[in-house]
């Protein structure tokens, strides 16, 4: 709000321009009203207090009462003492400056300033009544009741507290929501038994009666509080970690997480000493659950890097191919990099895919490196499918003579591009889509991910041979015997499979796009059909 230096009417009035009054400016309305202070030129002689002015200006000139120091003028109703009637309230001079007012006017004004609904007083303390001119406080002799003061103060406080307490409640709701989803995720990934073991302290705490229940038994109350604090101190990682699961899942779908995620394992390792249920065991196989989860962020980064280097460029190429030719500068093969329009369309699609590939693909690699041939089978086809297909497709196409060269050319370009154009593409991919549907899709995908991963783990259990998935003494290949490990690998497989599928679809769409043609109308057939009908 713009504010200007205070400028009071009294200042203006004191520096009146010396110009003869024009009676023509008076409108009939004002001359009619009896109680007005209008003084016309011809009325002037009636006034007694005009000696000095008269001498300066021979022309008969009205003298406003405010010019005369002996006449008091109320700064609120603008009436002066010449108009006083027996009913007018007494004059008050509450402050050192020259402003005076009727008592009633002052009291009205003060009542308005102090009114609780008055939005002008925003401060917590009771509004200060001060003279608008000299800013000195106007004192009121009035009864005080501390109960009234207290309640009024409390009312003002409550008014202030609405927004903060609303924010507090809302964030509390978000906290509990994400904690609930975190618990759900834990169960989805670890299964009923392990999940219950992990969450045991939390579960005990959730149905603990609030402290105020023990008010009549202070010892019990203090014991409960102490217990609560102790519990939080011991299991702080659980209490911090559970509500953080959902935000981190969401963040992992964006480039934000690139910065955060690698930090978390460090925190994890640093605090490992307190972990009651697991120990660090780098050399042992299978790794402990905590270790496996701690390295997930690194695997994620690795996988993303791999995808960027190897597949992003090809995917971009394929996407560009199915754009309408308007946005393409030239024919099939040679259109990379030009045309901003292409890039825009691209962005959305790439981001769209970015939602999915960010997460666990990384883990797939780990899986592929480390163990089970089953995963190698699953993982390898993704990339290979696309590399192998073009030849097959070329043969099957309607116009092989055109397509084969184009395809070959394209492959070459794809191979060259990663070297040149990697940087910009990385940046393009990093940008987060801000379309509402895109955001919703990302969020939902992230939130549903633990459940999907758990389900995939269960599916693995069904598919894989029983000997791998059922505990059998201290077998060294026992990774998949744990529910959590199956969940991790299932999640990785989902991500990798999704990426592979999307890549295949993109590539296939590009292929089919090239082979399109418009079918001529078969007149003979059409005619015969028509006659038949």
């Amino acid at each position: 709000m713009a504010s200007l230096p205070a400028r009071q009417p009294s200042q203006r009035r004191s520096s009146r321009p010396e110009q003869p009054q024009q009676s023509s400016t008076h409108s009939p309305v004002r001359s009619r009203s009896e109680d007005s202070q209008t003084i016309f030129v011809h009325d002037a002689p009636e006034k007694e207090e005009q000696q000095q002015e008269e001498s300066i200006q021979p022309a008969a000139r009205p003298i406003a009462p405010e010019d005369d120091p002996s006449v008091k003028r109320c700064w609120i109703c603008f009436e002066d003492s010449t108009e006083d009637t027996p009913e007018t309230s007494p004059w008050r001079d509450p402050c050192p400056c020259a402003l005076m007012a009727h008592e009633e006017c002052l009291l009205d004004w003060i009542a308005d300033v102090e009114a609780p609904k008055n939005t002008r007083n925003r401060s917590l303390a009771a509004p200060k009544i001060e003279c608008p001119q000299c800013k000195s406080e106007i004192k009121l002799a009035r009864q005080r009741d501390y109960v009234v003061d207290l309640v009024r103060g409390f009312e003002r406080l409550a008014l202030k507290a609405i927004v903060p307490s609303g924010v507090f409640m809302l964030s509390g709701a978000v906290y509990h929501l994400s904690a609930l989803h975190g618990i759900h995720s834990i169960y989805a990934v670890f299964g009923a038994r392990d999940g219950a073991r992990i969450l045991r302290p939390l579960r005990m705490n959730a149905i603990r009666p609030p402290v105020e229940v023990y008010l009549n038994d202070p010892r019990q109350a203090s014991y409960q509080v102490l217990n609560l604090l102790l519990d939080h101190a011991v299991h702080w990682r659980l209490y911090c970690g559970i509500p953080l699961i959902t935000p981190i899942l969401l963040a992992s779908r964006t480039s934000l997480a690139d910065g955060i995620l690698p930090v978390l394992p460090i925190v994890f390792f640093a605090s490992q000493v307190h972990a009651p249920d697991s120990t660090i065991d780098f050399p042992t196989w299978p790794p402990s659950a905590s270790f496996a989860f701690a390295i997930l962020p690194y695997i994620r980064s690795l996988y993303n890097l791999y995808y960027q280097k190897v597949w992003a460029e090809k995917e971009k190429q394929w996407l560009k191919e199915i754009q309408p030719r308007v946005t393409q500068n030239q024919g099939d093969g040679q259109n990379e990099g030009q045309g901003a329009g292409v890039n825009e369309g691209m962005m959305e699609l790439q981001i769209d895919q970015g939602l999915w590939d960010n997460w666990d693909d990384p883990e797939q690699e780990e899986a592929a490196d480390n163990n089970a041939p089953a995963q190698d089978d699953e993982a390898a086809p993704g990339p290979n499918v696309q590399d192998n297909r073009p030849n097959v497709r070329g043969g099957g196409n309607e116009r092989p003579q055109q397509n084969a060269p184009a395809g070959g050319q394209q492959q070459q370009q794809q191979n060259q591009q990663p070297a040149n154009g990697n940087q910009p593409i990385g940046q393009v991919d990093r940008r987060i889509s801000f379309s509402p549907t895109g955001i919703a899709e990302t969020a939902l995908g992230a939130i549903a991910f633990p459940t999907l991963a758990g389900l995939a783990g269960e599916a693995l259990k069904l598919i894989l041979p029983r000997s791998w998935t059922t505990p059998r003494g201290y077998s060294s290949r026992g990774l998949l015997q744990h529910k959590w490990a199956r969940s991790i690998i299932g999640g990785c497989l989902i991500v990798v499979g999704k990426d592979a599928l999307m890549l295949y679809v993109r590539w296939r769409m590009a292929q089919m796009h090239r082979g399109r043609r418009v079918v001529d109308f078969d007149r003979k057939k059409g005619n015969s059909k028509r006659t038949a009908v």
């Binding site: 709000m1 713009a2 504010s3 200007l4 205070a6 400028r7 009071q8 009417p9 009294s10 203006r12 009035r13 009146r16 321009p17 009054q21 400016t25 008076h26 409108s27 009939p28 309305v29 004002r30 009203s33 109680d35 007005s36 202070q37 209008t38 003084i39 009205p62 406003a64 700064w75 609120i76 109703c77 603008f78 009436e79 402003l99 006017c105 009205d108 004004w109 308005d112 300033v113 002008r120 925003r122 608008p132 001119q133």
Partner: protein, 154 residues
């Protein structure tokens, strides 16, 4: 109290017109609570030569509550809404006291025009943005253009 004081203010203005105003009168003879004013664009600014019509609505609790003043002539100013004419001035809201009157408030509005306004609490975002980014020439040009187009008699 309100109507008495309004009559006094009107008389005081008619006796001693403010240089900031070209006209100030009630809309109709029997309604003292709706006034119309014509404000002169301050000289030496981009508003110079403009004649801005303002509507003044006086609450029945006047002078304890401030008058409601709006520009009727569209004006290009960072603290005035171009469409509704709403003015963002503390005097019209929080820092009002009965010691002000209609005329002195209108003079404050004129001062707001000559002071250039406060682009950090804008009602005209486009102009405020120009000012904030330091494009004073552009802002002045825009103001001059709108003043000439909308607020000058032809």
């Amino acid at each position: 109290m309100a109507s008495k004081r309004l009559i006094k203010e009107l008389d005081a203005y008619n006796k001693d017109p403010s240089p900031a105003l070209k006209a100030l009168e009630p809309k109709s003879e029997d309604d003292l609570f709706h006034w119309v004013a014509v404000l002169r664009g301050p000289e030496g600014t981009a508003y110079e030569g403009g004649r801005f019509t303002l509507t003044i609505t006086l609450p029945s609790t006047y002078p304890n509550t401030p008058p409601e003043i709006r520009f009727q002539t569209p004006i290009c100013h960072p603290n005035v809404n171009f469409k509704t004419g709403e003015i963002c001035l503390d005097l019209l809201k929080t820092s009002w006291t009965p010691a002000y009157g209609v005329v002195s408030t209108l003079e404050a509005v004129q001062q707001l025009l000559s002071a250039g306004g406060e682009p950090d609490s804008p009602l005209n975002i486009d102009l405020a943005r120009l000012l904030r980014e330091g494009d004073l020439v552009g802002a002045e040009g825009l103001v001059r253009f709108y003043t000439r187009m909308l607020a000058m008699p032809r």
